[in-house]
């Protein structure tokens, strides 16, 4: 990758002109989003800048404990974000989403980094952190969509669930349909991305690798691994959150505890 074109601060300034142009469009058309745009742009610079600084230090340190600590912080934030995105809430929802995100990230992350890619040493931050970051970012989407759909089902369509219960459905029988619908919703983004991959746009990671000088077929191989990983992560995360939430909101004897939903 010696032919990599290095970006200088001047290049970044030129890119800033582009976002300023977007702001001008907003002003000219009175879209009223210039403030939001400015704030988001500033956040991008600050957040990514910090991440860059941290990653440089972490890559230099190459200590397993540091990598694990960073992963723990990432999981914590992802769990929090997944529950914050929901318009409804119940007691214990944070824990459930943290558990779903954590278990998904660790299981799927372990398979992809240790078995598929075979990272050496196992904690090599250059691979482990971006791969797990991608898994977390995507399953966060799936988990929050799935959770939102399930809570919506249990509150708006509670009579439908109760109709099954009054005919003697067990908890798992009554919850089969709501959980199925919720997991399906959680899986939609990743199946859409997989179906459109390469046709509508080159996936971000592949684009990045090609820009960084990797041979296209190698970039494709990585991208396929990532897509399949994300599919597994979304499925597992959605299933875990749906099951955990459903078990909290429906008692073992099948009584719907909708009063817990806020």
């Amino acid at each position: 990758m010696t032919d990599l074109i290095q970006l200088t601060p001047v290049d970044l300034l030129v890119a800033t002109v582009l976002v300023l142009a977007a702001g001008l469009v907003s002003l000219a058309m009175r879209l009223d989003i210039e403030k939001r745009l400015a704030l988001s742009a500033a956040r991008t610079v600050v957040q990514l800048g910090l991440v860059g600084l941290i990653l440089e230090r972490v890559f230099a340190l190459r200590r397993p404990i540091v990598v694990l600590a960073i992963l723990a912080v990432m999981i914590l934030f992802a769990g929090r974000e997944a529950s914050n995105r929901s318009t409804r809430a119940y007691r214990g929802m944070r824990w459930d989403s943290l558990l779903a995100m954590g278990a998904t990230c660790l299981v799927v992350g372990a398979v992809v980094t240790q078995v598929v890619v075979g990272v050496q040493p196992w904690y090599d931050p250059q691979y482990v952190i971006p791969l797990l970051g991608m898994i977390l970012g995507n399953s966060l989407n799936g988990v929050s969509l799935c959770l939102e759909r399930l809570l919506e089902h249990l509150s708006a369509r509670r009579h439908e669930v109760e109709l099954r219960l009054v005919f003697g459905a067990t908890r798992s029988e009554a919850l089969r349909e709501p959980i199925r619908a919720a997991v399906r919703t959680g899986m939609i983004p990743v199946t859409n991305i997989m179906a459109a991959a390469g046709i509508v746009a080159l996936p971000g990671m592949m684009t990045g690798q090609i820009l960084a000088g990797a041979p296209p077929m190698q970039a494709v191989a990585y991208q396929i691994v990532i897509m399949f990983t994300l599919a597994a992560a979304n499925a597992m995360g959605s299933m875990l959150i749906a099951t955990a939430a459903a078990r909290r909101l429906v008692a073992a004897d099948g009584r719907l505890k909708v009063e817990q939903l806020r």
């Binding site: 029988e173 099948g254 009584r255």
Partner: protein, 219 residues
Amino acid sequence: MAILLRCGPLSAEDGEGRRLYSAVTVALDDECLTVLEGPSGGGKSTLLRQIAGLAPSEGVTRKLGGRRWDGKELPGWRSEVNLLMQDAPIIPGSVLENLNFPYEFESAGERVFDGERAGELLEEVGLNTIALDRQASTLSGGERHRLAIVRALLWAPAVLLADEPLSGLDGPRASRCFDLLREHARLPGHAVLCVLHDPAMGRGADRRMCLESERLTAA
């Protein structure tokens, strides 16, 4: 007359914490249609939901035909003490699917869907002109209530707890449906507890109870 179902003590409060009733025990006679009367907002629906185990009920003893059912057996209890829910909800799908979905549940046991009997009952309630593959969501309120009655009678539970089953039905249809519920109640080993808003219809009941001033009394 022998008591078929006994359930209590039941207590409940409304959403604002006002006591609806306390330490009430419901006892239903065998072969008997009992009508539950009382002012609206007095907790009749909550009482039915508590008996069915859909609303919170702590420390309640549930007995059916001398057998005691504990909390873990509630799904089995519900399939024998079936609640005909207010507003007659439906599941997404056809009319037929709305009639036969319960037979897939574990608690259905030996029960199998009897298409012939379903046809007879649909005719009795005047729904025989409706195609079985029609989407249930296109039915009117009154049609949904009649469909719910047909489903409940097909299931033939020992006890049927019917929460305003005749809402939205015109005079002759309502009285035909009421007759069907009473016929079911009068079978040996069966009973029906029915919340009605029509006092004239209520006079056709075998027994009447009233839930008023936090107490359940014989009317």
